[in-house]
Symmetry: C2
Subunit: 168 residues, 2 copies
Amino acid sequence: MELAEARLKFIEAWGKLGSEWGINRTMAQVHALLMISPEALTTEEVMAELSISRGNANMTLRDLIDWGLVEKQHKTGERKEFFYAEKDVWTIARRVAEERKKRELTPIIKILDQLAGVEGDAKDPAYKTFKTTVTDINKLANNVNKTLDTMLKAEENWFFGSILKVFK
Amino acid sequence: MELAEARLKFIEAWGKLGSEWGINRTMAQVHALLMISPEALTTEEVMAELSISRGNANMTLRDLIDWGLVEKQHKTGERKEFFYAEKDVWTIARRVAEERKKRELTPIIKILDQLAGVEGDAKDPAYKTFKTTVTDINKLANNVNKTLDTMLKAEENWFFGSILKVFK
DNA sequence: CTTTATTTTCATTTTTTTTTGAAAGTTTAA
DNA sequence: TTAAACTTTCAAAAAAAAATGAAAATAAAG
């Protein structure tokens, strides 16, 4: 397989994976393109490579910056902005985990805390089932939360090494 | 807060979480409803509780069955079908992990294996960056894969207990 | 069989999400 | 200043995803 073909396949696959996980396909594709680009790219280059509009490229790049996955660069003598993606895969994984934790896990734990406190008749099956389910989900969410905190502090080899060693 | 209100909030929150993770909002809501229902429900009841159409309820329930989260039940003397959700939260988590692994992780690892094998000029920065990125993502994906295998076999307390103890 | 209850399908409609592109805004440099 | 280069915004359009509902299919009962 040619590099050019492989690059396209990678961009396509990363876009598909992203959309399956609730991330805009184009955003995942721009991320993929930047991850495999040794040099920072301009908006124009991103637009051309992926055949997307200026508005789309601009918004997507801004989102990637918000996720902590891409940074703006300025080159001396050049007027336009360049975009460069973090290349360390474990750092990328941690940034994504950190953002999703903040945006999704923390809010749902807050709601579950409220819901787990609902009062009711201890003999009512509807109440018992609700209480048990919500309390159990809350506990699991807190376990995931703590595990993510661990992951955010850990090195990749240490993290997986330890997990896989314990459960060998 | 009343149980009735809490139930609605839970269904809403679960639906939102689902849609953020690439799962159809209605499917997540039907799942939430069944998780907090002590008894199996009929299609009619699901339709009424969530104000959705028969076609939608039918397809969504079938999908939940495909995910291994809901089972059909038949009651003697009753002609219609009843739907009952798995209530053990750790079992639910494992089923979801198992399905997403099968549907998404395994296919992308297959693609990454192909892409990691692409040949090229070892001095070409574009090639080097591509190769490194793809290889690193592949390694991470395989670590996640193994960790999921462990999770699928483990008990909740054992799994998180061990992880959190190692990294305490 | 035939009828009735129930489930499934799927073309069409509706809703939601994403993308476009041109205008407005901003920055730099001459 | 002014003007050119570049970035951002956002209303409108397009595309994608989800939902509807009625007809077809299936299954059970008489």
